[in-house]
Symmetry: D2
Subunit: 193 residues, 4 copies
C-alpha cells in the first residue's frame, strides 16, 4: 500500500508539472503522450501506472484525458517493463514528438547533461519481429542499447517506419524527475525554434 501511495502521489505531482507547462504542447506527437511509472520488477502493463486516454492538447495546454490508472498504457508500459529488466532504477518514462530539430536539441542537451543518448532505426527491424504487435519491444530496447555502446540510454528516439510516427522517449527514476526534465527540454525547444 505504501508503494502505491507514493507512486500515485508522484504521478499526480508529475502530471501537475506537465499540465502547467504550455511549452510541452509543442512536443506532443500525433499519437499523443503517455507518462508511465512501473512498480519494482514489473511483469506487465498492469504493474505500470499511466494516463487513461493519454495526454492531449486542450486550449493550447497539455491535458490528461483521463485519470492515472494501472494498465492504462500498452506501448509505453511494455517499453518501461523491458527497460526495468536491464536497469531496475529506470522506472518512469514519457514519449514525445520527434523531428530533425528535436534530434539536434536532444543530442546537444544530452551532451551538456552527460546523458546517454541513442536511436532506434526501425528500418533495420527484422521481419520476424514485426509479425506480432508488441513483440518488437525487446528488439527495440536491445537496439537502443547497442547503438549507445551497450549502455542504457536516458534519452532516445525511434525513426519513423511505414505506418509509424517517429517518437522520442525520456526515461528517469520517477515521474516527477521525468516531468521536470521534459519541461526544461520543452522550454529550450520553444526558445530555440
Amino acid at each position: 500500500m505504501k508503494e502505491t501511495i507514493e507512486m500515485m502521489g508522484r504521478m499526480t505531482l508529475a502530471l501537475e508539472i506537465i499540465e502547467s507547462c504550455s511549452e510541452f504542447s509543442s512536443l506532443i506527437p500525433e499519437v499523443r503522450t503517455n507518462l508511465v511509472y512501473a512498480k519494482k520488477q514489473p511483469n506487465d502493463s498492469e504493474d505500470v501506472l499511466a494516463i487513461d486516454g493519454r495526454i492531449t492538447i486542450v486550449n493550447g495546454m497539455p491535458k490528461a484525458a483521463g485519470r492515472i490508472k494501472w494498465g492504462a498504457s500498452s506501448h509505453m508500459a511494455r517499453l518501461i517493463t523491458e527497460i526495468c529488466k536491464r536497469d531496475a532504477t529506470l522506472r518512469a518514462g514519457i514519449n514525445f514528438a520527434n523531428n530533425s530539430k528535436i534530434v539536434e536539441l536532444l543530442r546537444d542537451y544530452s551532451k551538456k547533461k552527460n546523458w546517454i543518448f541513442s536511436v532506434i532505426d526501425r528500418s533495420l527491424e527484422p521481419e520476424r519481429v514485426k509479425i506480432k504487435e508488441g513483440d518488437s519491444m525487446p528488439w527495440k530496447v536491445a537496439r537502443a542499447i547497442r547503438a549507445a555502446d551497450n549502455r542504457i540510454p536516458k534519452l532516445f528516439y525511434e525513426k519513423g517506419a511505414v505506418g509509424k510516427e517517429p517518437v522520442s522517449v525520456l526515461l528517469g527514476e520517477n515521474p516527477i524527475q521525468v516531468a521536470k526534465d521534459i519541461c526544461k527540454i520543452a522550454k529550450l525547444y520553444k526558445r530555440r525554434f
Copy 2:
C-alpha cells in the same frame, strides 16, 4: 517533498474510492461535497489539500469537478484546521448530506463502531459569531466537542440554519480511511432507505 507525495497519493486513491461508489451520490448535498487533507499543524487553507470545484454528480456517479489542489477549499479547510488544533491526528474530513434518516443511521453506526458522534445546533450560534463569514468555525468546533462531553467527535452534523443547508461531517486520520468509511455508510444508507 516526501510529505506532499504521500498526501497527494492518498488523496488520489481516496478520490478513486469515492468516484467508484455510486451509492455515495445519494449523500452528496446541494452544496456539494469536499474532501480535505491537512498538513501536520496547518495554519490556513493553503496547508490543506482539497478538490477544486468540489465533488458533484455526473451520470449518476460522484465526480471531482477539478484537480486535487492546495487551498481549493475554504469552509472544510477551516474546519479541519480548527480540528487539528484539538487533535493533531484528525487531518482528513468529508462533508455530506443530512436529514433525519441520515442522522438516525449515523447515530446507530457510531454506536456500533464506538465512534464519538455529535451535533452542532446553529440556532444557538451567538450573533457576534455570525457577523464575519468564517469566524464561526472555532465556535462550531467547540460546540460539537461540548455536545460530545468534551470529546472530539469522529462524526457530527450541523442542523440547518436560515440560509444554511444542514450537513454531516466525517473525520479521520487520512483521506483513504475517510473514503472507505463514507462509502460503507453510503451503502448502508442505500440499503436501508
Copy 3:
C-alpha cells in the same frame, strides 16, 4: 429533431459564454449554478435541458461539471416548467448567488433595463406546501408574480429559509440571451463591489 438541434446548439453556445466569463465565478452560489432550457410546453424535467453536475468553479473559472442533458436538473427544471405555464416565451433560466449587495445591484439593473423584478419570501411559505419536496414550486412562482403586481418577473430572488441558501434567478427566451445578460450583471457586480 430540428427543435432538439437548435436547443442543443443554443445551450452549447450559452455555456461557452458562461465558461469564458471569469466574473461569473463570484455569482456561483454554494449550491452551484444550473442553466435550464425547456421545450415548448414542457411537462416535466425530462423536457428540460440542463447541465449534468451543475456549473462549479475550477481554477477560478465557471465550469460545467458534465454534459448538457435532458433531465439533468430537478429544482431549476421544475421552476422553468412552472414559469412556462404562465408565459410560454420564458423558456430559459439560470440561478445564481444572492446577498444584500446583489439585491441592490439587481434592483438598480432591473430599473435601468425596465425589467420586472420580484422576490419570494420563503418565511411566508405555508406548512402544507413545505411537506413534499418539489411541491412548493407553484406556490413560489405564484408568490413571485404576486409580489410583482401580477406580472411575470424577468429577475427575482428567494430569501433564505431554514436549511435553504438564498438564490437569485434570471429568466429569458433562450439560454444565449440569459448567458449574455448574466455575464453583464456579473461584470457590473465585480466592478461595483
Copy 4:
C-alpha cells in the same frame, strides 16, 4: 448566428452518439479521432468546427478531450475544406483506424450501401508535395477521386507511409449522419472480428 446554432447543435448531438458507442473505441487510431463540420464554403480551419484535443479512449469509452471549437483541427479541417470545393454537400467527416480487416469491412459495407469507396496510396505521393506540411491535401483528395473513377468518395482510406499511420475517413452531409454511420460500422466490426 442561426447557422452557428444549428452547426453547434448537430456537433453536440453527434458527439453524444459517438461517446455512447463503446464499439467505436476499437476504431480510434493511435493519432486519435477528430470529427469536423465545415461552414458552407469554408476558407480555412477557422471555418470548421472540431473537437479540441480530439476524441480519445477513457475507461474504455470514446471521449472528447475538450470542447467543440472553431479551428480545433488542422489536418481533418484541411481535408474537409478541400472536399467542400469539389462537393459542397459533404461538410462533415471523421477519421478512424485502418488495417486490412477494416479495409475488407469498408469495401463490403460500401458495396451494400452503394457508397463510393476509394484509397489514397501515399507511396505515390510526389516529393514536391511532401515538402511543406499541409500541402499534400489537394493532391490526396485528387488522388482519392481519381482512384474512384472521378467520383467523390463517401469513404476512403490512406495507406500508411513512412512516419504516417494509415487512417480511414468517412464523409457526410452533417456530423449526426456521420456519427450514426460510423457507429453502425463500429458495431459491424466488433461483431465480425
